[in-house]
């Protein structure tokens, strides 16, 4: 990978979120996208007529029984006849969409791009059908028949982590407590809640070691981000120079075998997210990050399950392998700690409308770096850098992006 000479740079001009909630009967994906786009345009001080390109972020064609939904979103917001592209990487779709904005703008294919993501997470079908749709994201010939539910795999990963490093259930329960608590100060969040480690430990056991409150929920909602070059922003963004300037300085992507059974030992084995390490190394190199725990002020981590966030600390380089549990327990990743993670509430507290999730992580990092977050979840800015990590499958597709404030 060549680090491009920064003759061009990519800036994050603004973002919008349409409320993440369990079941939104007030409309459908198009309506939520529209809402997030209106907010994103307002926030970025831009007009849709000026924006040159769009990227659609959604994961499932099944949940909304609509192929080419991206074309509909794109025409709903008045982007025709300008170009659109859809990206898809399961739970990592939104992170990949942001990476796509970087690629398109840096290559000169366009100077500005609007990225919008949404998901209608299956309240339109019975829960059993929704489970089958999600199961289709694992290998349908080899896995669905024997384990058509992701938690069984994530539980295996966590059991091996506990056996190998002595990680405890209470340690990852603290992450669920933190994320639900952070969501209390995010009005767009699906699942804000003040709970204790005991509440998590006493919630219904689903698959050992994961209890009900260790899991994220399926959400409805949408998110949007607007990106451009500096020259474009000067010409077309009314808020350029008035709001803090945020640059997208690094992007990385990594993958692993779809089936955990095929992954090599000892690393990642069936414990770690190799794709996350690969993607993070790329993104950090681009952004000049040497010591992630010090070089970031905040980080949105893909906490599909509380333990996934714990293991991600290690694979994202916030600490050594096996240290995630102890550091979580010490509050290193809480608001006020060394590196606050999931200040938005994460997938557990903010919610997980898949195609919107990664884009929403980007909106949170933008808000933090501009110091626009609710005072109770606003981090202190030192490095003025924030990161986000989103993944699909069991870490099968990982996208890591780095945002930086330039004053």
């Amino acid at each position: 990978m060549e680090i491009l000479e920064k003759k061009r740079r990519v800036y994050v001009l603004g973002g919008g979120i349409s409320k993440f909630a369990a079941e939104r009967t007030d409309g459908n994906m198009r309506d939520w996208i529209n809402e997030s786009v209106l907010e994103g345009l307002e926030d970025s001080g831009t007009k849709i007529a000026d924006i040159e390109h769009s990227t659609t972020s959604y994961f499932s064609d099944h949940f909304d029984k609509q192929l080419k939904a991206g074309a509909i979103f794109h025409d709903n917001i008045g982007m025709c006849p300008k170009p659109n592209v859809r990206v898809e990487g399961g739970g990592g779709t939104g992170g990949l969409a942001i990476r796509n904005a970087y690629a398109y703008i840096m290559s000169g294919l366009c100077d500005s791009m609007i990225v919008f993501g949404s998901e209608n997470m299956g309240r339109q079908v019975p829960s059993d059908v929704a489970q089958q749709f999600i199961a289709l994201a694992s290998d349908t010939d080899w896995e669905v028949q024997v384990a058509g539910f992701y938690i069984a795999y994530y539980a295996i990963m966590m059991v091996t982590h506990m056996e190998r490093y002595g990680t405890t259930e209470e340690q990852f329960a603290t992450i669920s407590v933190k994320n639900h608590r952070n969501a209390m100060y995010n009005p767009k969040a699906h699942y804000p809640m003040e709970i204790s480690v005991d509440d998590v430990m006493n919630s219904k056991m689903i698959t050992y070691p994961y209890k009900l409150l260790d899991n994220c929920l399926l959400s409805d909602g949408a998110a949007c981000l607007v990106f451009s070059t500096e020259d474009w922003a000067k010409k077309h963004s009314a808020s350029w120079g008035k709001k803090p300037t945020i640059e997208l300085t690094g992007t990385g992507c990594g993958t692993d075998f779809m089936r955990m059974a095929d992954r090599p030992f000892p690393y990642p084995g069936i414990t770690h997210f190799r794709g996350k390490r690969t993607g993070a190394e790329m993104a950090y190199k681009m952004a000049g990050v040497k010591n992630p725990r010090e070089d970031f002020d905040c980080f949105e981590v893909h906490d599909a399950y509380s333990g996934v966030e714990l293991v991600s600390y290690e694979d994202l380089g916030f600490c050594k392998e096996g240290e995630g549990g102890k550091l979580a327990e010490k509050g290193v990743f809480d608001l006020g700690g060394d590196l606050p993670t999931n200040t938005s509430g994460g997938l557990i507290g903010f919610g997980h409308p898949v195609g919107a999730t990664g884009v929403g992580q980007g909106v949170e990092v933008l808000r933090q770096l501009r110091q626009e977050a609710h005072p109770k979840r606003q981090v202190e800015l030192n490095s003025k850098r924030g990161g986000m990590d989103s993944h699909g499958g069991t870490g099968t597709f990982c996208a890591i992006n780095v945002f930086e404030r330039r004053d």
Binding site: D26, G27, D128, D141, W142, Q145, G148, A152, P187, M260
Partner: protein
């Protein structure tokens, strides 16, 4: 009202907006909260081709566990692949004894009902003798309590004796 003209109508209702949209004109969606919900039935059956690893499933009906070995690098993928993903050499079929050890497992107290299995459900990742990667399947017949299940315990492939709904279910794991 004429709604009876819609044969698949479920309901017309006033939706609750989970969060009012911030707009200079106040509540811009006030006139957009009447929502119609319809029932939409879709039913599919696929004619699904299992690909060049079909022999694995065919041999399960003969109570044999076959997989693929790479003649290039020697790697034996427990879940067969026609093309070695490490060195891109076309593989050869190889029979394994069907014995191995339990690498890890999870015990589920809830599973999606489409799976039609008993709970607790034990998903096992097994290091098969003669293979370099793991194989994933259900562990059954572990006795009265899941407490008997331990990482590292010997397990073996067992074959179905009753008709199954998918060729993958022609086998499962049991304690050896």
């Amino acid at each position: 009202m004429g709604l009876e003209l819609v044969s698949n109508l479920m309901e017309v209702f006033t939706a609750e907006d989970p969060m009012a949209f911030q707009h200079p004109d106040g509540d811009p969606w006030a006139d957009f909260r009447e929502i119609m919900r319809i029932e939409w039935k879709m039913d599919f059956t696929y004619k699904h081709v299992l690909g060049k690893y079909s022999k694995f499933f065919i041999e399960l009906t003969n109570k044999k566990f076959v997989t693929t070995e790479c003649p290039g690098c020697g790697k034996v993928w427990a879940i067969p692949r026609p093309l070695c993903a490490d060195c891109l050499t076309i593989t050869k079929w190889k029979e394994l004894p069907g014995t191995g050890t339990l690498e890890s497992y999870s015990i589920s107290n809830f599973v999606p009902s489409f799976m039609k299995v008993d709970i607790p459900y034990v998903l096992a990742m097994v290091k098969l003798d003669g293979a370099d990667t793991l194989f994933t399947h259900q562990l059954r017949n572990y006795g009265d309590s899941t407490d008997t299940i331990k990482t590292g315990m010997p397990v073996k492939v067992a074959y179905a004796t009753e008709p199954v709904g998918h060729p993958m279910l022609l086998m499962h794991f049991e304690p050896a």
